[in-house]
Symmetry: C2
Subunit: 180 residues, 2 copies
């Protein structure tokens, strides 16, 4: 038995998300409703690693949670190609372009509530092409370079709070052989 | 400059989520709207590790994304204490109780769109107390035991798609000294 959709209606929409409420039959056969948040475009989560082996993160004020957050560069694809979007977000937010962009994984965020696909991209061969700091409308306050041992310390101390950042770092740590 | 809320109205609500649309002033001073999905209760993400060092995961059909997903046990706290919720989800979904539950980090999922806080909990000293498989209404089809090298292989092959699972495994790998 799996989920079955009996009916579906849109209850909210803005340029970035759609919310629908479905009448469903649950895997055990019981009826219910399911509110699903659909993100309009897939996201890209970029893990930029400098030639010195440091990861580039941005410090950003997040409206939704009302606090500052240390995160990898990320954003919506706006419907464009995944690697093109990754490069654009990387340049906008950090001021680095990448010689190499490598797709590591497709992830879904908050899948109990939402259909929010994202692509984790490893960016290497970095060269500085701008100032970074985002487009000004995103609340980025700093660009930081952190060595992996420092990142692991911050994770271990619970000082990185962004779920997608922790997830992307997991895929990148595996890809770079930093796990055992 | 940071975000400013000018007005706020609820646009959708069900027992699990609330969606509001705010009129905002963005960090660069421009006006806009922001749709925010609020999850009613914080989530718990449990990384259960057996005495043999294997991680216990569940295979589950996810309604939102229309596909099966290999995930750590997780769920809403239903307003209860975080560690009590972690224990309940662990027992329900895997059939294991834990001798030790350790809070590793607070994470926010999909924070571009939602206020969805969660707590990552490491569960050790596992003893079998039931069959697991969930409450029947969640679509869990299997409970799996995976050694860390196998988990890292699956992550490296992009075969784990749940963002919160990858994030929780990152915190757990750091806590257990499985990074370098």
């Amino acid at each position: 038995m799996t989920w079955e959709t009996l009916s579906s209606r849109r209850v909210y929409e803005n340029p970035w998300i759609t919310v629908r409420e479905d009448d469903v039959r649950r895997p055990d056969g019981t009826p219910g409703i399911y509110g699903v948040v659909e993100v309009r475009h897939p996201a890209v989560f970029v893990v930029p690693v400098t030639d010195a082996g440091e990861v580039v993160l941005v410090r950003q004020h997040r409206y939704t949670i009302g606090r500052e957050s240390l995160e990898i560069p990320a954003g919506g694809t706006d419907g464009e190609d995944v690697l093109a979007a990754a490069r654009r977000e990387l340049v906008e937010e950090t001021g680095y372009d990448a010689g190499d962009l490598r797709l590591l994984a497709e992830v879904y965020s908050l899948n109990g509530v939402s259909r929010a696909p994202g692509h984790v991209v490893l960016a290497t061969g970095l060269t500085r092409v701008g100032a970074g700091g985002g487009l000004g409308d995103e609340g980025i306050t700093a660009v930081e370079h952190l060595a992996w041992p420092t990142l692991f310390e911050l994770l271990g101390a619970g000082e990185i709070h962004d779920g997608e950042t922790a997830a992307a770092l997991m895929y990148a740590a595996v890809a770079l052989g930093r796990v055992r």
